[in-house]
């Protein structure tokens, strides 16, 4: 087997409990590997720890224990120095769930993208406008969008800008945290196609976080099913979908609306 691009080993995150509450174990001993160019999904209901994993990967949160390695070398995830963060950003990028708040509403699309492009020290300044144009085209936007601010764009267009920002430095891995969950079904389909196309042409690996198994089925080769901070099952998406080993996976599957579907209530108390 080829060397994994990203290797997460026994990752744990405990948030100290607020006044009078117990500590929250958000992520509890999670391990997985991501091969170059692969698309791996993390699936689970909300609160299962998906976002916390994403935030630890990009350095927004310090793991309580466990390790994250990239290309064989352990990532120093605890460093807050701008230089180290920049080095990581060149290889690992993130797209957030809410395209309304993940872009600075005061910046133009051009500023947002050229900020991202400036991460690459070898980039030639002269061609910045040209680079922005290419980037916009690659996510299905037009040059005229470059002078607009997020307020003037639709949800789908904003998420395309966020994707363009993540792709600007040609990272090896993009972490997509519920990146299509806030979009209309029809726009979601456009963005899913775009993501697939980008992976085919650039070979970027995805860590695709979602709560919807149907969406995962469309974009991921393998998936990790999480519940309450732990991995309950992992395997190829087809295996997991068609022969779920865990009853929780079956529950996630049953929750997806489809023709002939009827909603079910689980016996458990809601959290």
């Amino acid at each position: 087997m080829s060397e994994p691009l990203l290797k997460v080993d026994d990752l744990r995150k405990v948030f100290p409990g607020r006044r009078g509450h117990d500590d929250v174990v958000a992520v509890d001993g999670v391990s997985f590997e991501l091969a170059p160019g692969e698309s791996l999904a993390i699936v689970g209901e909300s609160g299962s720890g998906k976002t916390t994993i994403a935030r630890m990967l990009v350095g927004l949160e310090r793991p309580t224990s466990g390790s994250i390695a990239m290309g064989g070398a352990i990532l120093d995830v605890s460093s807050r120095r701008a230089k180290d963060r920049r080095a990581r950003a060149r290889r690992l990028q993130m797209v957030f769930q809410d395209p309304y708040s993940s872009l600075d509403r005061l910046q133009t699309v051009e500023q947002i993208l050229s900020d991202a492009l400036s991460l690459d020290p070898d980039a030639v300044r002269e061609s910045r406008a040209e680079q922005v144009r290419i980037l916009l085209t690659s996510v299905g936007l037009h040059e005229r969008h470059s002078r607009m601010r997020p307020g003037g764009l639709s949800g789908g267009q904003r998420q395309r800008v966020a994707i363009a920002r993540a792709l600007a430095v040609k990272p090896d891995v993009v972490v997509l945290d519920e990146a299509v969950a806030a979009l209309d079904v029809s726009i979601q389909a456009q963005v899913l196609n775009l993501l697939k196309e980008i992976r085919e042409t650039t070979g970027t690996a995805y860590l695709f976080i979602s709560h919807d198994l149907a969406v995962v089925n469309q974009v991921s080769d393998r998936c990790v099913v999480m519940r309450q901070g732990r991995v309950v099952e992992q395997g190829t998406t087809a295996e997991v979908l068609h022969h779920p080993q865990d009853s929780y996976t079956q529950q996630l599957r049953d929750a997806v609306p489809r023709p002939g579907w009827s909603p079910t209530r689980s016996a458990e108390a809601p959290r």
């Binding site: 149907a214 489809r258 579907w261």
Partner: protein, 337 residues
């Protein structure tokens, strides 16, 4: 057809255009809807198509500057002609509404319990009785530790729990009609399934009628008796949900259906509706959907298709009869496999 619980006829809603002046632009145009007692109607469309505005019109809940024409008849009374007191009673007792973002509609500094009993107390129920009723309501929506939850503040509850609280509060006054404006859009699929199951149960137990708004056609079709599809402020198709899934008449309905990813089929490319949704005032001559429609012909741009009765429903498309049975559906999968 006067026996329907809710009858919306020729509803047009306009908002002021631009800065000032008397210019107005439509955001909903000529909508007709009806819901019988205990019936559920799904209203589906992309962002900006006018779904929320239509729902708000039923309760005459408009932001300043918004104007509506047409009629909304609820249980024989005309909502737009009501006196203030009548309207207040309508909103308090007969029609309730739940929203996509429950957090924006609940006072963050008061406990869940205080929020839940205020409506009941205002109508003369004693605090003791109100609390007892609310606890049993919470149990109905799947919150068994009701008394503990009632002491909590909204921010201590997850989105799914808070939406259950909103549903409990909406049905507390035993309304006849519930307007649900994308109540599950902010939830994960597991919680969505639970919330939909709760709504279904309340409907059968209480004979509650439901207007369910969503942008997910398959969700609406799976949970409502009939489904109306809205585009650019107008209804373009209405059918029984079962038939809509198998025999859509309008290319837009078909497009919405097949663009949703599937659990069993992996597509090289999802069939998408290209381009962006538009609002009613942005529609050009002819069929509003024409710029995004894969079946459009020059004739489509000439005149606006009217909503006409077809077997089992209504559709507004010039080519409906021609295309009937040819439009891809979610059942068979829309594209290459």
């Amino acid at each position: 057809m006067t026996d329907a619980l809710l009858q919306v006829s020729d509803l047009t809603i306009t908002v002021p255009a631009g800065e000032y002046g008397a210019d107005r632009r439509p955001v909903v145009s000529g909508v007709n809807l009806q819901i019988g007692a205990g019936e559920a109607l799904g209203l589906v469309g992309e962002s900006g198509s006018g779904k929320s505005m239509t729902a708000r019109a039923v309760m005459r809940l408009f932001a300043p500057g918004v104007q509506a024409t047409g009629t909304v008849v609820f249980d024989g009374c005309e909502v737009f002609a009501m006196e203030d007191e009548q309207l207040r009673l309508l909103r308090a007792h007969r029609i309730a509404m739940i929203f996509q973002d429950p957090r924006a509609h609940i006072n963050p500094v008061r406990t869940v319990g205080a929020f839940l009993i205020e409506g009941l107390c205002a109508s003369g129920v004693s605090t003791r009785d109100a609390e007892r009723r609310v606890t049993s309501l919470l149990a109905e929506v799947g919150i068994s530790d009701g008394s503990r939850r009632m002491a909590q503040l909204p921010h201590e509850l997850s989105g799914g729990l808070l939406q259950r609280v909103m549903i409990a509060s909406a049905v507390a006054m035993d309304p006849d009609l519930l307007l649900a404006d994308e109540p599950t859009t902010a939830l994960d699929v597991t919680t969505q399934s639970e919330v939909m199951a709760i709504l279904a149960q309340l409907r059968t137990e209480r004979g509650l009628a439901l207007l369910f708004i969503t942008h997910d056609l398959e969700l609406a079709a799976a949970t409502c008796d009939s489904t109306a599809v809205m585009y650019a402020g107008s209804i373009v198709e209405r059918q029984s949900s079962r038939q809509l899934l198998t025999h859509p008449y309008h290319p837009y309905s078909s497009g919405l259906m097949v663009s949703r990813p599937d659990l069993d089929v992996v597509r090289q490319r999802l069939p998408v509706i290209e381009g962006q949704p538009i609002a009613a005032f942005e529609a050009g001559e002819g069929c509003a959907f024409a710029p995004r429609c894969g079946y459009s012909q020059p004739a489509c741009l000439a005149t606006t298709p009217a909503l006409v009765a077809v077997q089992g429903g209504e559709v507004a498309c010039h080519r409906a009869s021609e295309l009937q049975g040819q439009l891809p559906t979610a059942m068979e999968g829309g594209g290459d496999v």
